[in-house]
Amino acid sequence: MSIIIPEIIVLATAFAILIADLFMNERTRVYLAPAAVAGLLLALAVMVVHTPASGALIGGRFTMDAAGWWFKILFMISALIAVLLSMDTLDGRARVRVRGMGFRGEYYSILLFSVVGMMFLVSARDLATLFVSLELATLPLFVLAAWRRDDPKSGEAGLKYVVLGALASAFIVYGFGILYGLTQSTDLETIAQRLAGERAPAFWLAAALVLAGAGFKLTIVPFHMWAADVYQGAPTPVTAYLSVGSKAAGLAFAFQVFYRIFGDALPHWDMLIAIFAALTMTLGNLVAIVQHDIKRFMAFSAISQAGYFLLGFLGAAEEGVPAMLFYLLVYIFSNLAVFACIIWFENETGKGQIEDYRGLSLSNPLMALGMTLALFSLAGIPPLSGFVGKFFLFSIASKAGFHGLVAVAAVNSTISLYYYLRVVRQMYIEPVDERVPAPGSSVSIGLSLALLSVPVAILGILPTVYEGIHAATIAWLASMPQG
């Protein structure tokens, strides 16, 4: 029973915040964000105490394993940081007020609902629960993207996201329907057994549909079209959560379908995955070069990062899964650290162009340092954690014989260094813009940046984290029916 307690805590917190919001006034509503943080911390503590939890509930429809443990921890950390980053904007502490941010209680509870959906997604072992939890994870994101009700860009982001997201969901559910038709079962394990050796045209159709849906969530080119506009239009704290939460959920979903349903066919798709990876990396990188808006820039950076994730699917699962999980960990910390700076800068100055970051190293050296560290980690500069994560992924593709792809990835990594350095150059080399008032400081954002910078700097040096993930995934793979 203990394995479902973290989910119940997060869900109860979400409902408690929703109800508490009704009986509070504007002055006491500032306590809603600490309440969300407390709920998430409690759930995290329960997760950590029950390490390594494993087991099954409801007739095996809700299961817990070592890899799922890592995913759930990452989801909760992302949400925790997202709440910390949203506090200033929602409580009106930002110097440049963001108008039309709506009701705080709704915001936090919707965010928590999305986290619960992601957590159930990892534990789902049934087509129906898998789909419902995927929807529970993404529907709140549509609402959050359109959160600023009087901002047309936010509305556009929400509309684009909901229309394209519904299309992706339709693909997935159609693919699931065909899978059910082929195997007469909704249980993932049974489906995998009955699909072994199945190469009927309907199987390929189902695989293509599910692959397209997973590609949408992971922003794989050519299913990436929604990302730039949604990232740019959504309120910045929501973009921060979207860029890590949605990607982590997409990777969790990809793990579920690739390793549990299509585990038997996955090795035959490596050429296709390699092409997707090369396209995603290259397009994301080339378009990111010419961006001026920092949120749009981060959207294309996130697309190119998704291409690196795909490299992990090329090799043996024993190597690919820990490498992808580790890179996800690194990506979440680095990306959230960059967004912490973006949100803080927007709160203080109301500006969001890359050129506006001129001379930040003089007006606020600590923030500039944190952002530089995170950008270098995303670019993959040793000894930061991003380098180690990329190194593992590249070596997997190289071992699988995709030397050309590794060359493409390495070239892309160099290109990405150029545009990440563009931001750093603005902060360190360009002179201060006198017309922009010197930005102040923020407790919650400064705290989250400090919390994020430490793992960004040391995760690559400390081998224990990777070893932990590796041991966890070996146990996870051993628990799978067909290995």
């Binding site: 409902f15 929703l18 109800i19 009704l22 009927a200 045209p201 309907a202």
Partner: protein
């Protein structure tokens, strides 16, 4: 070869839709204009255009109605198997209803039920 039926089904579906449209175009008299382009409002004389802004309250009432509609739809199959599920089934349904009631209370407190 077993997929020939799927192909036949696709062809048949396309023929049903396309054939109907084509046949009606072939035999129906084409005579637009006049009263035909006026929006149909259940026999009433239409007032203004059909593209007007509605009170958002309609949507909120519609949403609340839908929630309880779906709840009632789920309760029918639950009632059928109630004898075999017993007390755990009752508790599960109570939790389900409770979640929906929270939604209703929320809407009520936020003033959705007041018609403005």
């Amino acid at each position: 070869m077993e997929y020939i039926f799927v192909l036949a089904m696709v062809g048949l579906a396309a023929a049903m839709v396309g054939g109907g449209l084509f046949f009606s175009r072939l035999v129906a008299p084409h005579n637009p204009g006049g009263n035909k382009s006026v929006p149909y409002e259940c026999g009433e004389q239409p007032i203004g255009q059909a593209w007007i802004q509605f009170n958002v309250g309609y949507y909120l009432f519609g949403l609340l109605f839908l929630v309880f509609d779906v709840e009632a739809a789920l309760m029918y199959p639950w009632a059928v198997v109630f004898r075999s599920t017993g007390l755990p089934g009752l508790i599960e349904m109570l939790i389900f209803v409770l979640v929906l009631v929270i939604g209703l209370i929320y809407a009520w407190r936020k003033g959705v039920l007041e018609w403005v």
